[in-house]
Amino acid sequence: MTVLIRGARPYGEDAADILLRDGHVAAVGGSLSAPDAEVVDAAGLVALPGLVDLHTHLREPGREDAETVETGSRAAALGGYTAVHAMANTDPVADTAGVVEQVWRLGQQAGLVDVVPVGAVTVGLRGERLAELGAMADSAARVRVFSDDGMCVADPALMRRALEYVKALDGVVAQHAEEPRLTTGAQMHEGDRSARLGLTGWPAAAEEAIIARDVLLAGHVGARLHVCHVSTAGSVEILRWAKSRGVQVTAEVTPHHLLLTDECAEGYDPVFKVNPPLRTDADVAAVRRGLAEGVIDAVATDHAPHAVEDKESEWAGARPGMLGLEQALSVVVATMVETGLLDWRGVADRMSVRPAAIGRLETHGRPLAPGEPATLLLLDPAARAVVDPAALASRSRNSPYAGRELPGRVVHTFLRGVPTVTDGKATR
C-alpha cells in the first residue's frame, strides 16, 4: 500500500509531503510524486509520530460490558494512538503468560493499535509474592512493563525485590504510588474542599511518601522505576531531586491531572472520582511545569472505562476512573501547546518517543523520516469541538470532558502504513 500525504506539517514545522510505502516512510520532502499512491490532502494538518499510551485499562477479560480490547483499540486509534499498554487489573488478573498472551492476541485481532500487555507484579495484585515475571517477559506478549496498578506495591521489601528482579528482563516496575494506610476510605484530595464536602481525604503525602521511598530503593539497587499518574507538586519535586541524583526513574501524568482540579467534586458527580484524585490549581500548575521540563517524561491516559451503574450512584459508591484515550491529545494541546509550555516536538517526545522508550517498543516513537515505520497521526490543530460522550468509540461514557470544548482533532492515523483512522473515522 502506498499513501502520499500532501502538505502536512511534520512536528508543526514547514509543510512537506510524506510518502508511505510498504509500511515505512519512503520519503519526506517538497512536491513528491507517486503515481500509484492514494493521496491524502493534509494541508494545515500537523504530523506527529503515533502516540504511545503507557497506561490503559481495556477491561478485557472480565468487564467486557465496560470495554473490550477491540472497542478500546478503536478509541485509542481515534485519539491518535498506535500503541497502548493494557493494564493488568483484569479478571482474571494478567499475572501469567497465558493471560498476557490472550490480551496480546485480542489486540492483534482488533488490528487498530499495538496492544502491549502489562504484567502484574504480584500474584492476583495481592501484594504478597511475585508473579512469574520472567514467563510473561518471555511470552509472545514480550512484557516489559510490570504493574499492580489500581493497587500499590506497598510492602517495601517486596517492591525492592520486584525492582531488582526485572533488571534481568530489561523491565520496569510501574508503581501506583498510594500508601494504603493513609488512604483508607479516601474519596477525594484532602484539603479545603474535602473538609467542606465531608468526603474522606486522600492526602498528597500518601503519594509522595511512596515515590520518595521507591526512588531511594531504585537508586539503591540500580533498577528502573516508572511512576504512574503523578498528581502533586510534591511528587514533581521528589522526581526532580531523584533525577538530579541519577536515579533511573521515569514518570507520567494523566490528561485529567493536567486540566481538572478538585473543584470538580462540587456537586458530587462521580464522573470526577478518580484515583489518584483531582488535586489543586497549584498541583495542576506544577505537573504542567514538570511535564514541560521533562521531569515528568510522559502523558499517559489512565483510560478507565466504567459501566453506567458503576458511576451513576452516590460518590462513595462509585468506582474511580475516567475515560481518556479519545481526548488526551486535545487536552495536551489545550494545557501545554496553547499555553506555550510545549511545542509540537515536545508533544511528540512526551506522548510518543519517551513512552515508547520506557515500554521498550522499538517500532514506535520513531522520527518522521525516511526508512522509519509509517506509524503516525495527522492532527487538525485549528478544529474545536464540544465533547459528547455518546459519540465516543469507547463502550463506556464516563468522560470528565463532557460538554467541554477542546481544541484539536485527529483526522488520520496510520499504523505501519495502514490507515486505522481516515477522516476522523476508524477504518475497522
Partner: protein, 306 residues
Amino acid sequence: MRRHLLEAADLDRADATLVLDTAAQIDAALAGREVKKLPTLRGRTVVNLFYEDSTRTRISFELAAKRLSADVINFSAKGSSVSKGESLKDTALTLEAMGSDAIVVRHSASGAPHRLAHWVRGSVVNAGDGTHEHPTQALLDAYTIRHRLGRLEGVRVAVVGDVLHSRVARSNVRLLHTLGAEVTLVAPPTLLPVGVGSWPAEVSYDLDAVLPKADVVMMLRVQAERMAASYFPSAREYSRRYGLDARRMAALGDDAIVMHPGPMNRGMEIAAEVADSVRSTIVEQVGNGVSVRMAVLYLLLGGAPS
C-alpha cells in the same frame, strides 16, 4: 427559598431567618391546641427515604409532615428493593413516579441528596448525609439558641468534639455564621479536618480556655470506636480533656446553655449531671426539631398560608 435544602449554604440570612420565624409562628399557632394539626399540605406527599437507621430524625420529619396534613410514606432501605442493590437513581425515579412532592433523605454517603436532587423534580431535604451536613439540625439548634438567648447576632458558640466526622458541625458552622453568631470549634487536632482553616470559625484545642467566653456549648457525639483508629488514646483521656462535666460547667457564664444533637454518650462527651441540668436544652431541641422541620416543608412546598 431554593427548591431543595441540601446544605446550610442553600440558605442566605433572609431565608434562614424566615425558617426560624415560620417555626415560631407554627409554635404559636399550635400552642394550647388539642389537635396539633394544620391543613396546609393536604394532598401533598412527603417521602422519608432513610438509608441509615435514625429513628429520632425519621419520627421528627414524619410528625412534621403529618402535622401539616401531608401524606407520609416511609421508605426504609432495610427490607426493600434498596437493600437488594437497587440504585439510588432507580429509587429516585420510582418515588418520582409515585408522585412524591418532597423526599426527605438520610444516607451514609456524603452528597447522596445532591445526586437525588439531580434526578427528581420535587424538593429534596437532606436529613443527614455521611459526614457532610444535616441542615435541619442546624436550623433547630439556631432556633433553640434564639429562643433561649433572644438573639443570634454576636452569640459565641463553642462546638466541641468530633468535628471531622460530624455533619452537625458542618451545618452549624455555616448556618450560625450566616446568622451572625461566632463559632469556635474545640477538638483534639486529630478530630478536625485538614482544611478547617478555611471555615468561618475559630479553632481551639483547649476547652477550658474557651468555656468562660461561650454563650453556648454544643457537644458533639464522639464514638468510642474512634480510638481504635488512634484519633485519641482512650475514652477516659478524651473525656478528661474534652468532656463536659460539672466542674467545667461551673466555668460557664450565668446564662450560658449546653446543647447536644443526640444521641448522647453520657460519661463520654457529656456528664449525666450536665445533660440533666437547667442549662441543658437537649429535650427542648427535640421538640423544636418538629417545628423547624414543619417550617422547612411548608416553605419548600409552598403550602397555602393558614
